[in-house]
Subunit: 307 residues, 2 copies
């Protein structure tokens, strides 16, 4: 079911530990090695029995791996690449799950040996939580995984990695790193930036107390706090490593927001209605595409709802 | 359990129908009358047996009511007030559930007779869905309901309305209409505006196709589409009727966003980290306050998550 006799996961946080759980729950036959620099996470991964071998030494972890997946913040890749590339097994694949791709290729490509294969990846799935305990085996089920193999990558290697992601429930799509970064800038990076910003703005208000912001958060604000609770290190690295696409999207967003502001100021009710009506339809398409559920609540459970 | 022999709900949509369900499920003894101008919603309310009497004639609906609650978009209040105030029962309360309050007082106060009592209200609870079928009886459970009685309102009338909201599971707080509009501008109106705007921006992108926006929406975008699927009429009315507070909050938001944009442009990783770290703590406080649940997903169900 997999072409890899040994898979090594560097980083046993939300994504790494979810990968370990998914590999096991889908019955993939492979030796599974985990590595984390955080001693507490090493202990948790061991206690949860997530992998066959857990270590804090990345060199030890990768040397007999056929597939190495980096699942750490992308800011750590330069250092990890410099240490791992020299000791990787000939023929092995180096992949990752980082949320940006062009900078990852730029960082890792020059460090690669000729007899190893760089195939960056990004599962478009996640939550706002971190660490080995936050992971779960179904995280990748029905979600997309984007691969951005450099030109001239051996097709059978790309195929093997594709099969791996399919085996744990994902659908795979290949694209260029630049296109990935542009698409994700609007579907993930900008939403996070906006959420962080609005929660930051709310913190500064003096006319409205912090306790009021919290009390009345069910009016919509709480959904933004969920996204703005995502890991600070991971997101700092995302914005620093996808600067151009994020600034481009932000420019468009601000332009549109200025027009919306004008419509409010000049009582242009029809323009407001038109925008609000069009955005509603996009929601329907996302539900039809199976990328969200049509539950009648703002992030709460339908099991609470008896009728 | 309630001081009202008859309660009339004008508007049997999400909020009106949830009120009807909550009144019944909490066993409140009262005659319940519903009114809606949409014939389909009248039929649905009848089929669902939500009230004792359902009508499309608001005058007929209110004439023997002790409590009238407007649950229609706030843009309809001027017309409804002009028609209903003359025929209301002496001693009756006119209340509402509208998401803005200062403009509601300004609209309805001049229409009130001396022997009736205006006590505007706003349950801070809702979903992005509309119509009688979307309602549910637990919508107000553990949520806040804000009342904004004008000065000199008879205290026993305020107390009676307070008891009503408490009887269906809410906690009541009184404040001035202006303060309400300021607080809700940041906890509800600005989040909705931002969500509508980002979904609108995504629609315009040509480098990124619409199908990609939908496919990869699980990266965060889909949570914004949920909010941006809210009723266009209701939200047009909210923005037109809370213009000053919304524009004030939008100004602060944009100022903060410009600073954030600068931090990305000039690689100020520490500033990004600091903001992202602080916003994370607000999330924790909202969960501690019972206004959201700490479920490890982006709006999906935990029942999907076996481990
Ligand atoms: N979270 C999401 O929703 C999501 C979705 C798709 C992709 N991603 C990507 O997945 C990657 C991991 O994110 P995550 O959410 O899983 O983060 P996480 O839960 O914080 O896990 C990362 C783990 O890696 C450890 N680590 C950091 N630097 C290391 C190093 N040099 N060597 C070994 N271990 C190291 C961390 O330790 P410390 O605790 O000491 O930092 C932590 O245990 C990121 O690149 C992110 O962009 C995340
Ligand atoms: N949705 C929320 O999350 C939320 C939360 C708190 C407060 N509120 C407030 O609650 C109020 C109602 O919102 P909702 O979400 O319940 O809307 P909704 O589901 O669209 O229901 C409103 C109902 O009132 C009907 N209606 C409109 N004008 C009327 C009139 N003049 N006379 C009689 N019926 C009329 C509508 O008919 P049509 O279908 O023909 O328009 C619809 O059936 C709004 O003022 C809103 O600000 C909403």
């Amino acid at each position: 079911m997999t072409d890899f006799a040994q898979i090594t996961l560097i980083g046993m946080g939300l994504i790494g530990s979810s990968l370990a759980r998914a590999i096991r729950s889908h019955g993939l036959k492979t030796r599974l090695v985990g590595c984390d620099s955080n001693p507490q996470h090493v202990a948790e991964a061991r206690a949860l029995n997530l992998v066959d071998q857990i270590t804090s030494d990345p060199i030890d972890a990768v040397k007999s791996a056929d597939l190495v997946i980096l699942a750490t913040p992308v800011g750590s890749y330069a250092d990890l690449g410099a240490r791992l590339c020299p000791v990787m097994k000939p023929g092995a694949i180096l992949s990752d799950v980082g949320s940006v791709k062009a900078s990852v290729v730029k960082t890792l490509q020059p460090l690669m040996r000729d007899d190893c294969h760089l195939i960056p990846g990004h599962p478009v799935a996640g939550t706002e939580q971190s660490g080995p305990k936050a992971g779960f085996s179904t995280l990748f089920d029905g979600r997309w995984c984007i691969l951005t193999p450099p030109e001239n990558t051996a097709p059978e290697k790309v195929r093997a990695l594709e099969k791996f992601w399919q085996a744990i429930g994902s659908t795979v799509e290949c694209m260029t790193p630049d296109h990935h970064d542009m698409v994700l800038a609007i579907t993930s990076h900008l939403p996070h930036l906006i959420a962080y910003n609005i929660v930051g703005t709310a913190r500064h208000l003096e006319e409205v107390t912090k306790s009021e912001v919290i009390k009345y958060s069910a009016g919509g604000f709480r959904d933004f706090t969920r996204i703005a609770a995502s890991d600070p290190t991971m997101w700092r690295d995302v914005f620093l490593n996808n600067k151009d696409a994020v600034l481009e999207m932000l420019g468009r967003f601000t332009e549109d927001l200025t027009a919306l502001q004008r419509s409010i100021r000049y009582d242009e009710g029809d323009k407001l209605f038109d925008l609000f009506d069009r955005t509603r339809r996009i929601r329907k398409q996302i539900i039809d595409a199976g990328q969200d559920e049509d539950v009648p609540d703002f992030g709460r459970h339908t099991d609470d709802i008896p009728d």
